[in-house]
Symmetry: C2
């Protein structure tokens, strides 16, 4: 049906009506006092969401633009960095390092498996001359549905003392706790179309004082992505370029909604929905692609057997107007991914699972009808 | 009054209701077939607007991001370039060249005066070894309200034969003709919050085959701003990163509206409103900051005598809810600027001029009441 699309992908995620309507307001001048008030309010809200007193800067960009900014503002050509790669996004940060002539050592795991913090520890401990300038980690690897153990990896970075920790929190921020100040995370990047409950169009970068210390000596060229310019203007509740005014209106409302729900409730909701979805997959004998101890609270990846992932997605889309994500790169056709990120209610989980069961029946998959929905319902009602 | 703001600034410009409502639609997946159709339609519309068969690429960025991409994708460190600077934006492109280690020669004019094409000719003709790789020109210099003579400058670039012509068309595209194919413009950058009748959030770069020939050998580092990535995906009606889906919905409707009005009618409207506004300033004895032969069709700059520019802006804003732009940098307080760009009707011009006359009365400025409005009306009704 037209206009009945339900997004269960890891971005864009569903957007509340009041956010959409805020975005439909007439724009105002970005150099006006009224807009400065908007910048002030959303900046305060972003600091709350990021659990930090650090700067949180707002870019007109995708999450990749924000992450690139986070990398190139604090490093110089030839700098040694460690990059965790266990999926499409970790690979991308490695490519950015190569593009800018950084000396990047990949610490890899198979897609679907978490990064091993011990490997980071070994590299960091053996670096007695403190040549490693940064450790780049994707917290929730969207392509595989894996949550990496950022807390432990970061502990090893802190023991090293010199390296900055740079985090892709694109699908973890707003889904699980990313306590920037408590953990001492230096660079944390994210994007609006994820936990923020907004359409795509804004990127965010939180920057620690330690990272700013590295900024004056960082020699990679940048202008539009020069975070120093954003910091200078943010201090005046302004913006160095013309910001996406209407996206800011949406951000303002989305942050108000998030504050009303409360951080702990938001995280609990994502974890509950993750557990419900995983319980349903188990009850349906659909193999989970990521292990329980490293499951992303934003997205559940499933590697079905006895039924084609792409057929499931196709029926879900055509008959039930539900968009699921497929596999990326070499996982294309091998997995499907159910997003439960942002403005997703418990009802949505049951809806998606009900449709999935109907789809499995259509595809003659052998399972116990009702098993998935009831397993999820049990978790949701616990 | 609340919610009565009227934007007469050079961006953000007013946005049609149907564009705003399109932006308030629920987002869809950016990797879906439905979104590919949107990309295909807006790309075709952008080529129409740009009067070109060249690629027109869409970035989530401000106009500055688009212009930076246009520069850094086709040049290498040490390359010699000419940069026209007669305002804030020309200065900015010079700064980008410096940031990336280009060897930039500024060709400057006083703010408010147009660039002298003869100076470009001399530099280009004396470059017998063809060391100049690009000429960077701001077509409509927003900060001063000046339209530079791009056609003549470009003719000298074409006579040189080697250099690429790179154009900031941020406030000229959609206001006056920028015939990319007819003139052979290599790189043309613009932003959504201008003639496009959209809020800020999208940047556009048109790229010629000649510029693409320079791309493989261009050595400035870039990833998010790597236009090769955009080109590759655009060929498949896709996007290399997560595009601002809702901005694309708005762009789709805005381009439909522009097509309905027709290019010639759009340009005629902007020129008519420019002429009406300038006639009014003359009738009010308010000195025009840019000469007639180099007046921007997007924005009229005024350097008032006998009344303070900032007082005019303040009364206009407070009593009549009309936002005018002020001067930037050293022109702060010395000029005010009236935008007539994008979704502005003849009625809006009369409205703004009526309010301006009332404001001048409030400020005890000596003029003939009614002179401005009637001078404009004469132009508009001709």
């Amino acid at each position: 049906m037209d206009d009945k699309l339900m997004l269960m992908i890891p971005g864009p995620t569903p957007v509340p009506e009041q956010v959409l309507l805020a975005m439909a307001k007439h724009p105002i001048g970005h150099r006006s006092g009224d807009f400065s008030k908007v910048i002030a309010e959303v900046t305060e809200g972003l600091k709350w969401l990021h659990q930090t007193q650090n700067d949180v800067l707002i870019l007109a960009s995708s999450g990749t633009g924000a992450m690139e900014a986070g990398i190139i503002n604090f490093l110089s050509p030839g700098d040694r960095v460690l990059v965790g790669t266990n999926g499409k996004f970790g690979d991308r940060w490695g490519q950015i390092c190569d593009t800018y002539g950084l000396n990047a050592t990949r610490i890899s795991a198979e897609w679907g498996k978490p990064l091993d913090p011990e490997e980071f520890r070994k590299h960091l401990e053996s670096d007695t001359e403190k040549q490693i300038k940064a450790v780049i980690v994707t917290h929730s690897e969207t392509s595989a549905g894996v949550l990496n153990d950022l807390e432990t990896i970061n502990r090893h970075v802190k023991a090293h003392g010199e390296a900055l920790i740079m985090v892709d929190a694109v699908t973890s921020l707003g889904a699980t706790s990313v306590p920037i100040d408590a953990w001492g995370l230096d660079v944390v990047a994210s994007g609006s179309q994820k936990g923020y409950m907004l359409p795509p169009g804004l990127g965010f970068v939180a920057v620690s004082p330690k990272a700013w210390e590295a900024y004056p000596n960082a020699k990679l060229p940048r202008f539009y992505l020069d975070l120093g310019k954003y910091r200078k203007e943010a201090a005046k509740n302004s913006h160095p370029f013309t910001p996406p005014v209407n996206m800011f209106f949406g951000l303002q409302v989305a942050l108000q909604m998030m504050k009303k729900e409360g951080l702990e409730n938001i995280f609990a909701r994502h974890h509950r929905q993750m557990n419900a979805t995983r319980a349903a997959m188990r009850a349906l004998n659909l193999p989970l692609f990521a292990p329980d101890h490293a499951a992303s609270p934003a997205i559940t990846s499933v590697a079905p057997m006895g039924v084609e992932a792409e057929q499931i997605r196709s029926v879900m889309r055509k008959q039930f107007d539900i968009a699921l994500a497929g596999g990326q790169d070499h996982l294309k056709g091998k997995i499907f991914r159910i997003g439960h990120l942002g403005f997703v209610s418990d009802r949505d989980i049951l809806t998606a699972l009900g449709a999935l069961e109907a789809t499995l029946q259509t595809l003659n998959y052998d399972f116990t009808p009702g098993a998935g929905v009831s397993a999820a319902a049990k978790v949701l009602s616990a």
